[in-house]
């Protein structure tokens, strides 16, 4: 008997009966307040930054002004050029020297200040982790209320990889002291920038 069959047989024999029913999950809608404002507060609480670029400012130039020392700026979004092209076929380790990575978030979550990214948004998944800093463009219209909304999104069924990024990499493993930039990015900056007209979010 294979291990698979042995395990399934043991589980089948031991599962408690009868099975309690599966409950319906409410959405727990919170009716009050601006989603953008809640998102911003939550993001700040989790150690992220929220910077409103001046109207009409060119995103490339603006981001460079946020990171004047950066040599290698790599963008997964066609809205920003950066200093080096991001080829989706490149080896993840090639991104080891990236100072700033740029993505456009598929959507944001007001409850937690999270942004959602899939391999489509990242082009190379490792960009969001090997870069020293991450900048995310987020259309304020793309912010949903809470995690119940998030987990009704059908894109979880098609994305190979999907991540809710909430602030920068962090740890408090030594004496509870908070460190940003544990293993991943040292900072996460969200820029509320509307999607270009030809890049409406698809669901």
């Amino acid at each position: 008997m294979t291990s698979r069959d042995a395990i399934l047989a043991a589980v089948r024999a031991n599962q408690p009966t009868p099975a309690p029913s599966l409950p319906e999950i409410p959405v727990f809608e919170k009716m009050s307040g601006s989603l953008l404002e809640q998102f911003r507060e939550a993001l700040l609480r989790m150690g992220g930054k929220f910077v409103d670029p001046p109207n009409g400012e060119n995103p490339d130039r603006f981001i460079r002004s946020l990171f004047p020392e950066a040599q290698v700026i790599c963008s997964a979004s066609s809205e920003v050029i950066g200093t080096r092209a991001l080829n989706s076929g490149c080896e993840p380790a090639d991104l080891a020297d990236v100072d700033v990575g740029i993505v456009r978030a598929a959507f944001g979550v007001a409850e937690t200040g999270s942004i959602w990214l899939s391999e489509q948004d990242l082009r190379v998944n490792a960009l969001a982790y090997l870069a020293q800093h991450l900048v995310a463009l987020l259309d304020p219209g793309d912010i949903v209320g809470n995690l119940h909304h998030v987990y009704r999104d059908p894109r979880f069924k098609t994305a190979r990889y999907a991540v809710l990024v909430t602030g920068p990499s962090a740890t408090a493993d030594i004496e509870g002291v908070l460190i940003h930039g544990a293993q991943g990015v040292r900072s996460l900056t969200v820029l509320p920038v509307s999607r270009p007209a030809d890049n409406r979010a698809s669901v």
Binding site: Q15, A126, R160, Q183
Partner: protein, 458 residues
């Protein structure tokens, strides 16, 4: 197999005053943060009830969900392996690594791999294994197991970490600045991510509907381990299953709030299929879970989502430290699952509890922890696994308290002893109560004596 002596280990832990007091304060602070989050969500208790019900339903139909999960995983282009026990798990992992010529493995935190004692197994076979979570890395370099499932080095102070890093990874001796220490670990670990041929993660949840699994971290080390090397192996206990993606709304809202008092971890990562050009292997592990599923009084322990809230609230855990339990799983959840691994070795653990019930109240999936602790005590007594002294004391107490005359004689003897014996005869090694406490005075009259004198016979 020697019984773990929790009380003795605890005594040593308490003796290291600065360490113990910090440990207690730090974890109590996590408990308070958890409270603030819980009280900030009006539907908190409802979420707990939903989470409990989803888990109980899933465990009762686990075979169906496991099969559904497996089908989806295969459709997604990933591999499924099944491991009956720890050795089989380790062998499977080794076989995957060796057939692909992988010599270096970076991994994120996984209690399951600790449970299987995977690292020494792989290291003996020539695989270099690097723990990438900061707390786990500290413990690996110090050759000590993790003491807490969420904050593995919580029992160490900065000076201890500084010593470990100076000894092992070339940090400046004596530099105990925490930012420096964290940066040192970042810089020395990063090359491993870049050159490792394989990365390994655990999973907090496995979703049957899509064949996905979810890994929650704050450091992003799981994402580095999974997204840099071409090969990603995930070890998942069979009890981690939940039916649908939508159920994650309940669990993700509960997990980090319970564990650390933050609304979500910095990274909540969902893996459904290998990346382009990559390989994804999932190892489903039993190792006693299917057996525990059949234990009428204890199967609820399988609902555990490994948040550690029970450890943070447990007044005994905070004052004795995770290592005092001598097992991968410590604190309240450890106390109720460890006896299934080895009843004799862990027979003292269910007695390392005051049955105060705080753990049950913070558990996000409503495991009846203190009730299970109580029931384990009965099993341990029935299987004759209690130490002789305890067993005898209870036998004698049982006899005396079943007989009014014997009882009254014992009470008056105790009273006489307390009143007449010199201090050294009462406070000595035979009297554990008296080691650090005064014993009560003997009153002139028992209640019964007073009642007879003032109320007479009814």
């Amino acid at each position: 197999m020697r019984r773990i002596d929790h009380a003795e280990a605890a005594s040593q832990f308490i003796a290291a005053k600065a360490h113990q007091e910090f440990h207690d304060r730090r974890l109590w602070d996590l408990r308070l943060k958890r409270d603030r989050e819980a009280h900030g969500i009006p539907e908190w208790e409802e979420l707990r009830a939903l989470a409990s019900q989803i888990k109980e339903h899933t465990l009762a139909r686990l075979s169906d969900y496991l099969e559904e999960f497996e089908s989806r995983v295969k459709e997604n282009g990933a591999h499924v392996h099944w491991a009956r026990d720890a050795t089989e798990h380790n062998q499977i992992v080794y076989d995957i690594l060796s057939t692909r010529g992988a010599k270096t493995l970076v991994k994120s935190k996984s209690m399951l791999t600790e449970e299987c004692d995977m690292r020494p197994f792989l290291e003996r076979r020539g695989i270099e294994v690097i723990e990438t979570d900061l707390g786990e890395r500290i413990q690996q370099l110090d050759d000590e197991p993790p003491s807490h499932i969420v904050v593995p080095a919580v029992h160490k102070l900065r000076g201890d970490v500084s010593d470990v890093f100076a000894r092992t990874i070339g940090a400046q001796p004596g530099n105990d600045d925490i930012h420096y220490l964290a940066e040192t670990q970042r810089q020395t670990t990063r090359p491993y991510f870049l050159r490792a041929q394989a990365g390994m993660t655990g999973a907090n949840f496995a979703v049957a509907e899509t064949g996905s699994f979810v890994v929650c971290t704050n450091e992003g080390n799981a994402d580095l381990s999974a997204n840099v090397p071409k090969l990603h192996i995930a070890s998942i206990g069979i009890e981690k299953m939940i039916p649908r993606i939508e159920h994650l709304g309940v669990f993700i809202r509960l997990l980090s709030r319970s564990a650390l008092g933050s609304p979500i971890t910095q990274y909540t990562s969902h893996f459904r299929a290998p990346r382009e050009g990559g390989e994804l292997h999932i190892v489903l592990v039993d190792n006693g879970r299917s057996e525990r599923l059949g234990m009428r009084d204890f199967w609820h322990s399988l609902k555990c989502i490994r948040c550690g809230a029970c450890m943070n609230t447990c007044p005994v855990y905070r004052r004795s430290g995770g290592l005092s339990y001598g097992a991968t799983y410590s604190g309240p959840i450890g106390v109720i699952i460890d006896p299934t691994f080895n009843i004799r070795k862990y027979s003292n653990l269910p007695f390392a509890s005051t049955l105060n019930g705080s753990c049950t109240n913070v558990c996000p999936v409503k495991i009846d922890i203190h009730e299970q602790i109580y029931k384990w005590r009965q099993i341990i007594a029935e299987r004759n696994q209690r130490p002789f002294v305890k067993k005898e004391m209870m036998r004698i107490a049982g006899k005396v308290l079943a007989d009014p005359k014997l009882y009254r004689a014992a009470v008056s003897a105790a009273g006489l002893a307390i009143e007449h014996l010199p201090r050294f005869a009462i406070y000595n090694w035979l009297n554990p109560w008296g080691r650090q406490r005064e014993i009560p005075e003997a009153p002139q009259q028992t209640f019964r004596g007073w009642y007879l004198e003032h109320r007479g016979r009814p």
